[in-house]
């Protein structure tokens, strides 16, 4: 009975923290060297900027969905509020870029506070519907308030983006890419700290078994609330980066499709892993870029791929990869064997 072995699927334990850190370091080095690589190999810097933006969005979304088990179909609201508030601060108040971005992220956090209160009154499908409908409220505000947001045409006329130290962030420049990358890496570092903190462990406990976590003495309502608000904050930061990337606001940022996209990206990459959502963004956007050049309705192909992925790789790309790479449980079965006599001799 005690021989029953386990470790398949035990990716977090099997792969280990050190290897994860190594993979992150290599990935970060590649991203930093990208403008140099682009001189030799034809990679598109704007495509990678977009991957960073949506990658951060998906990582932030995963704090709620993957780590805490809170379902949200309304993360477009935080993404969009981040982008729109930054744009409004820049266009109407002529604030510096940094201050505008900060206000954008804080507004997204405030939005998160409100939606968290409403969404956490329920769970499952109801939670999905509440978050979805709340986010659509913001879509309609942006759609109707034409004098400020430009409505359906989107928000244009945003002043040229400049860092306070005088570096312009325009077009497809490497400066812009590096700025987005710097904010991205900072946020990934902060998220890494959070998921490995004592609080991060409580998030997982609340996801795994809410009732048990409560019986252990955790007020899981506030745990989930806090995780949701953190997720909203980081999604807001991703939204401000989207504005830096696009240099205008498209009302479709707030549309429910954006919430769907981030969900699909996250599931593509794998919810059970830290960096899976980023890999999801990489694959999804690269695929979109490649397919949309040749096929008009590229979404159809993506849809079929998504179905195939859910059927054959339910843990997502990253989750399945880690499972495949996880060391086989040789060591631990020896350990079990060594422990057997002791167990049988217990009183």
């Amino acid at each position: 009975m005690a021989n029953e072995q386990s470790s398949t699927g035990n990716t977090e334990v099997g792969f280990g923290r050190r290897k994860t850190l190594g993979a992150v370091a290599i990935g970060a080095a590649l991203l930093i060297a990208l403008p140099l690589i682009a001189k030799v190999v034809p990679v598109s810097i704007p495509l990678f900027s977009e991957i960073l933006v949506f990658g951060l969005f998906a990582l932030s979304f995963n704090l709620a969905l993957g780590y805490t088990g809170v379902i949200s179909f309304g993360h477009a609201a935080f993404f969009g509020v981040g982008a729109y508030v930054t744009a409004i601060c820049l266009k109407f108040f002529q604030l510096p870029l940094e201050a505008s971005m900060l206000l954008g992220a804080l507004s997204a956090t405030a939005t998160g506070v409100i939606i968290a209160f409403l969404a956490l009154q329920s769970s499952g499908a109801y939670q999905a519907v509440i978050t979805l409908s709340m986010s659509m409220v913001f879509y309609y505000i942006a759609h109707m308030w034409i004098s400020v947001t430009g409505g359906h045409d989107g928000m244009t006329g945003i002043p040229v983006l400049n860092l306070s130290i005088g570096i312009p962030l325009t077009g497809a420049s490497a400066h812009k890419y590096y700025f987005i990358l710097a904010v991205f890496l900072l946020c990934v570092f902060l998220q890494w700290r959070i998921v490995n903190s004592p609080f991060g462990k409580v998030m997982e406990a609340a996801r795994e078994n809410d009732q048990r976590a409560q019986t252990c003495g955790y007020n899981t309502y506030w745990v989930k609330w806090s995780a949701f608000v953190l997720s909203a904050f980081f999604s807001g930061v991703a939204g401000t980066l989207l504005l830096v990337f696009l240099e205008f606001c498209d009302v479709y940022i707030l549309y429910w499709m954006t919430s769907g996209t981030v969900l699909v990206i996250t599931l593509f990459g794998g919810t059970g892993t830290f960096l899976g959502p980023f890999i999801g963004a990489l694959v999804f956007l690269a695929m979109k870029d490649g397919l949309s050049r040749h096929i008009e309705h590229w979404e159809v192909v993506t849809g079929f791929l998504f179905v195939a992925l859910v059927l054959f790789l339910p843990k997502g790309i990253m989750g399945s990869l880690l499972t495949a790479l996880a060391p086989k449980p040789k060591e631990s079965s020896l350990e079990v064997a060594a422990n057997l006599p002791e167990e049988e001799s217990k009183p």
Binding site: S7, V13, N196, P198, T215, C216, V336
Partner: protein, 255 residues
């Protein structure tokens, strides 16, 4: 026995505790006292209201009427997490663990609840005392060799022990065990009974149990419930002889 009992402080007391589900009275005016140092068992036929009574004690259900006091403080309206923080731990009839966390993490996160929740910055490993405590408890529930195995891949009996470990990690003053031996083989049940008896030297325990052998061997006091009410509350020997208790079990036996 009586005199000795009276000198000990009351740790848990219920007064006329009642819970209705629609027209069904699952727990009917139960008034019980539990004293420090006691291992009390609750027995009764299926549907007697034992688990409902437990859920009222742990805060998973709230009573329709009546009050609950823990160490003299009224806790009737406290949610379950506050009762846990006060020192009431419990295990569940159906295995209730964190399935996709390792055995170690299951216990460590329970231990962490006594110390810290909202620390977003430091690494969890920085709290070394919690890791040591988790390892000590893993050893106590005989799961050290399964430390880094996901809880949902443990054998059933191991999961039952893990669950008791989770409850123990919260340093309870009172431990509510809901049928810890359910689904175990007779041999495993005997081992578990021994384990619970050892445990009761350090922790106050209320046990809901179907296995009469376990109950009669290890309890200091036995409460028999039937149809939501207390039929008798006495020492195991007296309970065995009690005609009312015999009757409520006789009625249940199929014939």
């Amino acid at each position: 026995m009586m005199g000795q009992g009276l000198q000990r402080t009351v740790i848990l007391e219920t007064k006329n505790l009642t819970r209705d589900f629609g027209g069904l009275r699952a727990v009917n005016e139960v008034s019980l006292q539990m004293r420090e140092g006691e291992l009390m068992s609750i027995i009764g036929p299926n549907g007697a209201g034992k688990t409902t009574f437990f859920n009222l004690l742990s805060g998973h259900l709230f009573p329709t009427q009546g009050q609950i006091f823990f160490r003299g403080e009224e806790i009737t309206k406290f949610p379950s997490y506050r009762r846990s923080l006060l020192g009431i731990g419990r295990s569940f009839q159906l295995t209730n663990i964190f399935p996709n966390l390792t055995a170690f993490e299951n216990i460590r996160v329970a231990a962490q609840s006594r110390k810290i929740t909202f620390d977003f910055w430091r690494n969890w490993k920085a709290h070394e005392d919690l890791s040591h405590k988790a390892d000590a408890i893993l050893k106590r529930v005989q799961l050290s060799h399964k430390r880094d195995v996901l809880a949902n891949t443990l054998a059933y009996g191991e999961q039952r022990y893990l669950e008791m470990g989770i409850a123990l990690a919260t340093d309870p003053a009172l431990l509510l065990l809901d049928e810890p031996t359910s689904g175990m083989s007779p041999e495993e049940s005997r081992q578990t009974a021994h384990f619970i008896k050892e445990l009761s030297k350090q922790v106050n325990i209320i046990l809901v149990e179907h296995d009469m052998e376990v109950v009669m061997n290890i309890s200091d006091r036995v409460t028999c419930m039937d149809s939501g009410s207390v039929v008798a509350c006495d020492s195991p020997e007296e309970i065995r002889k009690n005609p009312k208790v015999q009757q409520c079990y006789l009625r249940e036996s199929p014939c």
